[in-house]
């Protein structure tokens, strides 16, 4: 299946979040080894070490997750340089608050929740820019070149374009579920809404996606 966690993780180089299934033995084993980026030290162990001021653990955690966090933030703020600045801030918060991490949720869920907060704060500081970009993204370009027109016949491309035209709220939930592999509960924790609202928001995001596709001549049979 496309979306099995292990497979997607291998494909993207994103370490599987296996920490929840850790046995005490494997945890102890990982604690006893010297820390290098090539070993799959559980995220929770890294956080423990970061709380103790371990700079190398911070490097490993950053290497493991910064690309995904960057992409999540970039999809919200849409400016690469802003997204880069924000991920530095996200991981700096991790450095400062690691001793407060209680392990009730996965480290990636915690990271994305911090990232989301940073991204929304940044957007609040420049609301006009974001509005302009969103509006621009939603407007169809009538002056397609023949190459673009041919390209648009590719359903996958059109689908990606439509995904990019969704509202930030809808983009966010789709990314969290499909790309960041977050469960209903984890997505609820990151976004700060009830689990049922996550399902409803996902439903409407997908419905909107279907409408955008329909406008571009692609009928999927749903909704």
């Amino acid at each position: 299946m496309i979306g099995s966690k292990g497979r997607a993780s291998q494909a993207t180089g994103f370490a599987p979040n296996s920490s929840l299934n850790l046995t005490a033995a494997s945890r102890n084993q990982s604690m006893s080894r010297p820390l290098t980026a090539t070993q799959s030290t559980p995220d929770e162990v890294l956080i423990e070490r970061i709380a103790g001021g371990d700079r190398l653990a911070m490097q490993v955690l950053f290497a493991r997750h910064h690309v995904r966090v960057y992409r999540f933030v970039l999809r919200l703020v849409r400016k690469p340089e802003v997204a880069e600045d924000l991920i530095s801030e996200v991981f700096l918060d991790v450095w400062r608050q690691a001793d407060r991490f209680e392990g009730r949720s996965a480290v990636t869920t915690w990271l994305l929740a911090i990232a989301r907060f940073k991204a929304l704060s940044a957007l609040r500081r420049r609301p006009d820019e974001e509005l302009d970009e969103d509006t621009a993204a939603a407007i169809e370009d009538p002056s397609d070149t023949p190459e673009v027109a041919i390209e648009k016949k590719d359903k996958g491309n059109v689908l990606r374009q439509c995904l990019d035209c969704l509202s930030p709220e809808h983009r966010e939930i789709i990314d969290l579920v499909y790309y960041h592999e977050k469960s209903v509960e984890e997505a609820a924790e990151i976004v700060g809404i009830p689990a049922n609202t996550v399902k409803t928001r996902m439903f409407y995001a997908r419905k909107k996606l279907g409408e955008l596709l329909k406008e571009r001549g692609i009928e999927r049979g749903w909704p």
Binding site: I2, S32, G52, M58, Q59, R71, G156, L159, V184
Partner: protein, 228 residues
């Protein structure tokens, strides 16, 4: 179409809502089984699931084309970390880390020998305790000798009395009474509701005086006298 579908299969909307998570592989086992069963019996739902899988693939593709941040992000982060004030580690976590570090330095063979030695020590200790316990329980003569020795040594320092409490005395009254004289009940009730009372650090003369005092407390004491 949704309404028609829902009329056809009650609860289908619930299953449809779970399809994105099923495609992503993030449903719990119970829900995953529910969805699989529904997909197997409902071709429309199976078609919908294919739509979801297309969305999933497109979303992954879109995100993967976003690129990665430059090295500037990491440099900026570690410059900021270096500028942070040094943190004071808590004593507890430092101690825990020391223990972890200590055990992590040992080889598996060393740990195995240490565990075996610890297990042996526990067995030996348990054996010694059992021996002492069983020895006390079975050797009545030895215990009797010990008691006789204790009696000889402690005769002057403690005294016993026999007491029958007044019928109207409550448990609280009796407790307060015993505490006030630092006395304890060591035997009883014997025939006639009589108890043996022990008062420590007391000569026989003093005991007689105390017993006279006790007798005056009619609310608690029915009868009291020195014991042999």
């Amino acid at each position: 179409m949704m309404m028609v579908a829902e009329e056809r299969a009650p609860g289908r909307r619930d299953i449809e809502d779970l399809l994105p998570w099923h495609a992503a592989g993030t449903l719990n086992h119970r829900d995953a089984v529910r969805v699989e069963e529904a997909l197997a019996r409902d071709p429309d739902l199976a078609h919908h699931f294919e739509v979801v899988r297309e969305e999933l693939a497109a979303t992954i593709n879109l995100n993967e084309t976003l690129g990665a941040p430059s090295a500037r992000a990491m440099e900026k982060l570690f410059t900021a970390i270096d500028a942070e004030p040094p943190r004071a580690r808590s004593v507890g976590s430092a101690f825990t880390q020391q223990i972890i570090d200590f055990f992590s330095r040992l080889t598996p063979r060393t740990v195995a020998w240490a565990a075996a030695a610890a297990a042996l020590a526990i067995v030996v200790q348990a054996g010694m305790l059992a021996n002492v316990y069983l020895g006390q329980g079975n050797s009545f003569e030895v215990a009797g000798v010990q008691q006789a020795q204790r009696g000889a040594l402690g005769e002057a320092s403690r005294a016993d009395a026999l007491i029958r409490f007044a019928p109207q005395a409550s448990a609280d009254d009796v407790t307060r009474f015993l505490e006030s004289y630092k006395a304890t009940v060591v035997d009883g009730p014997m025939q006639g509701g009589v108890y043996r009372l022990r008062i420590v650090n007391m000569s026989k003369d003093d005991l007689n005086r105390i017993i006279a005092q006790m007798q005056e407390n009619r609310a608690v004491v029915g009868f009291i006298g020195t014991a042999q």
